[in-house]
């Protein structure tokens, strides 16, 4: 510390060590987070790779004593959002959040988007298929709250929003998910 930042950070042995250890310790968790977020292995692989490359470049900004997983989950989330924006101008998160969850009480098909169709096909069981129907923010808040078991404050830090937003997102996402799971289970038994 104290030394002014050089314009170009040359790859150092420390950066190498940091990245290698990060991948050893958190590679699997990061990959699974990316897999649940994207719903398919190919995207999860790309996302995980890109996230660790970013870790390598920004490793000096990691604060010792803070949660590395929270940091890399945030990186994964941001990369995924950017990627989706790049791929198609319109996507779920472009829609104002409040009207994102449709009412699936009627008989209309659940998968209305080719990507959703694809994800639904990739994920075999009802819960995974139902998760794929949520918006990214909804899916993310559920993964972080229920699978990773983070507190609302930690989720707010990862998602870069307020606790109030985390709470309302989680409530809405769970209400929608409950209906979707019920439907998916019914479809399963009808097959």
């Amino acid at each position: 510390m104290g030394v002014p930042r050089k314009p170009v950070d040359p790859p150092s042995a420390d950066a190498d060590a940091f990245l290698e250890r990060a991948m050893q310790q958190y590679g699997k968790a990061t990959y699974n987070f990316a897999y649940r977020l994207t719903g398919n292995e190919a995207d999860a692989r790309d996302l995980t790779q890109d996230a660790f490359i970013r870790v390598y470049r920004a490793w000096r900004s990691f604060v010792p004593g803070t949660s590395f997983l929270s940091w890399i989950y945030r990186i994964v989330t941001n990369l995924y959002r950017d990627e989706l924006r790049r791929k198609k101008g319109r996507f779920q998160e472009e829609i104002p959040e409040d009207n994102a969850p449709q009412d699936f009480g009627g008989a209309k098909p659940l998968a209305v988007d080719p990507i959703e169709d694809y994800m639904a096909g990739q994920l075999g069981e009802p819960m995974a298929r139902s998760l794929a129907q949520l918006s990214i923010e909804q899916r993310q808040v559920i993964i972080l709250a229920d699978i990773e078991e983070y507190s609302y404050q930690e989720i707010a830090d990862i998602m870069g929003c307020s606790i109030g937003t985390v709470r309302s997102r989680l409530h809405r996402a769970r209400a929608l998910l409950r209906r979707l799971v019920t439907r998916a289970s019914q479809q399963e038994t009808e097959r």
Binding site: K6, F18, F62
Partner: protein
Amino acid sequence: MKHYTDDDIIDYLHHQVSDAIDAQIHAHLALCGDCRDRFDAEASLSDLLRSSARATERELPPMLRAQVWAQIRSARPSLLDRVRAFVSPAFAVPMAAALALLLYFGVPVLRSEQASSSPTVAAAYYFEEHAAEALQNPLSDHLSTSSALASGSDAPVARVNAPLIDAADAATLDDVAASRE
């Protein structure tokens, strides 16, 4: 009797209410069948999420780490960038100029250094080397670097400063991060 909303119950389920509210809801659930049913429904949704996550858990793809390293190495700053970063500003400009001249005239002495700034060849080599190694010894992700060393070829030698860290080494990310400067 005041009932709790689904939102209250979800916050309670996630241990995100104050101790006082937590105690109130806990006591209420023992008495109220309606709220208890809604709590059970929320709790089973969480259980289902966790069991689904366990059932679909993936191992890290075996080649992923090598691919990350390959991408990093292929995108390494140019030789000029590195020289510029290492040399103090007073010398950077003349050094860079001298280096540019050397590169322009293709002095053979520089060939080994040039090899390290030839990203595609080197990255591909590293990748293949690792693939061959992984087939022989799927449990080791580190041998690729030492085998690159042993191979004696000039291209991959530039890559060997990468991940020579032993998994048994007890240091944590914090230690690594704290040791910088």
